[in-house]
């Protein structure tokens, strides 16, 4: 019983032999712990890389050093010169994307074009774009959709196709929940990830209503001859195990004025992209003249990815 009134006798001091034994046992535990943790890393983490600050906290010089270090690492790893840039957002630009559901035939060329352009892991397989096949009679019903369709030719009769990737929301729930702020929305509207800051808690994957984010469960592998060497720090540079990745609207292309790869590769011209702030862009034309709709509107995520029916 805890009794505050009477003092208790102090226990006798321990014999010295016992203290020495205890110290040895403790030491062995410490050694075992060190042995278990030290020999386990297979990613050969640089101390610099490990201690790297958050992207937004890097000064201009530090960023240059980081990019140079990465270029060296990737060039060595893949045996060819790789560039890593940190292109800032363009002024007066807010990107938007539109996809014509009446035109998509579900050929998946966007999926694989994206895989090549953005250095996605081939094994374990990572696809940033998911193409859902649904019934024309039923309309958009995600519960009855099929992402694994495998027909001889597409479009299959009576079906329509809806590719889904990151919607680059204006009110992104993934950004809200990240505990370390490893993902954020840039000025031009692209939601980006600092792969060197992500701790892999996967809260963002749980929070995303569109199934857009992918986790590197294993170590990603890209064959060196298939690597796209023009990379962007916040975009398509090769990722590591244990971090989250997703569509970045081909930030390495779009910030240089080019279209994302999926837009260019689509054989039926179903995909459109542009600057929402430019009144003459096709994306504005679509929003103003076509019947656009967004997925899961009631969640107030305000995606900048608009589906419409052009035909």
């Amino acid at each position: 019983m805890i009794d505050n009134s009477a003092p208790m006798p102090v226990p006798a001091p321990p014999a010295t032999g016992q203290t020495r034994r205890e110290a040895i046992i403790l030491g062995l535990f410490a050694l075992a712990g060190a042995a278990l943790t030290s020999g386990c890393s297979s990613d050969k983490a640089d101390l610099d890389e490990y201690l790297q600050k958050h992207f937004k906290d890097l000064s201009g010089d530090e960023l240059k050093k980081v990019l140079a270090r990465m270029e060296k690492k990737y060039s060595e790893q893949y045996g060819k010169p790789v560039t890593v840039s940190a292109t800032p957002p363009l002024e007066g630009v807010l990107f938007g994307y539109a996809l014509d559901l009446s035109r998509c035939i579900g050929c998946r060329r966007c999926v694989y074009g994206c895989v090549e352009e953005n250095n996605q892991s081939r094994n374990p397989q990572t696809h940033w774009i998911t193409v859902l096949e649904m019934d024309k009679e039923e309309g958009v019903n995600l519960e009855n959709s099929n992402a694994y369709y495998d027909h001889e030719t597409v479009p299959a009769p009576g079906k329509f196709y809806m590719p889904v990737a990151c919607q680059h929301c204006e009110n992104p729930p993934c950004v809200k929940v990240c505990p370390v702020g490893a993902t954020w929305k840039e000025k031009d509207g692209i939601v980006v990830i600092d792969y060197n800051w992500c701790i892999g808690c996967r809260n963002c994957i749980a929070a995303c209503p569109y199934g857009a984010r992918r986790f590197n469960w294993g170590t990603p592998h890209i064959p060196a001859d298939e690597l796209n060497p023009v990379t962007e720090y916040l975009g398509n540079r090769p990722r590591q195990r244990g971090v989250v990745e997703k569509c970045s609207w081909c930030i390495q292309r779009t910030r240089k004025g080019l279209y994302p790869k999926c837009v260019e590769v689509c054989p039926v011209g179903a995909r459109k992209f542009g600057n929402l702030l430019d009144p003459d862009s096709e994306i504005r034309y679509i929003i103003e003249n076509k019947r656009v709709y967004i997925l899961k509107e009631e969640l107030n995520t305000q995606p900048k990815f608009f589906y419409y029916y052009g035909l």
Binding site: D150, V154, P155, V268, G269, K272, N275
Partner: protein, 218 residues
């Protein structure tokens, strides 16, 4: 004497100025300016019909085959508005005048043709046939419904006669495959680059492989 010289000088100067003004008439600004190119194209387009109507009365009296310089000039101007990829001709087929001379006798009633068997017409074939688009006399040109001749590089004007909303969307950049840059001058593809004009319906494609099931990812 002096007055005459002055008058001659004035007339020469005035005509020179006039000629200069006509020659240096502002054409489409082709420099890629951020976001303004499409607008400029639309603005110019509004000007173009006026130019066409000015020139047209002279040329139209001659109808097809009498296309003189004014029509060509108009054609050049509007073609420059929509910089398109080259027409997707099959090898060796163009110029068509290699085989079809302007003076040839032409049977203008729809009938099966002996050559060009590789072309299967599947484009409103109940109501249309070859010479509704291809000019009978000048096979290097297409012709619009009113008889005006256009180059193959402007074939979108022909398609747009029936497919008006599509042409409108194409000009705005909504219809068709987009390549190049989202800002600055748009690069256009001709309708025929994607849709075969004789059989425009897209053939089904073989899809790329489905993603691995997540259970299979080890």
């Amino acid at each position: 004497m002096q007055r005459m010289r002055l008058i001659r000088l004035a007339v020469a100067g005035a005509s020179a100025t006039l000629l200069l003004a006509v020659a240096c008439r502002p054409v489409q600004d082709a420099s890629p300016r951020y976001g303004k190119a499409a607008g400029a194209a639309v603005a110019e387009e509004k000007g173009a019909p006026k130019a066409a109507s000015k020139a047209a009365p002279k040329a139209d009296t001659g109808v097809a085959g009498k296309a003189g310089a004014p029509i060509a000039k108009v054609a050049a101007t509007t073609a420059a508005l929509y910089p398109v990829a080259p027409p997707p001709f099959s090898d060796g087929v163009f110029p068509c005048s290699q085989c079809h001379s302007p003076g040839d006798k032409v049977n203008r009633t729809p009938h099966p043709v002996e050559f060009h068997e590789d072309i299967v017409l599947h484009h409103d074939e109940k109501n249309r046939w070859c010479l509704d688009c291809h000019d009978a006399q000048n096979r290097d040109k297409l012709h619009l419904a009113d008889g005006r001749l256009i180059d193959f590089t402007e074939s979108y004007r022909l398609c747009g006669q029936c497919h008006g909303p599509t042409l409108r969307n194409w000009k705005a950049g909504e219809h068709g495959k987009r390549t190049g840059s989202w800002s600055g001058t748009k690069q256009y593809l001709l309708c025929a680059s994607c849709h075969s004009p004789h059989s425009p319906h897209f053939k089904p494609l073989q899809p790329k492989r489905p993603p691995l099931r997540q259970e299979a990812i080890k």
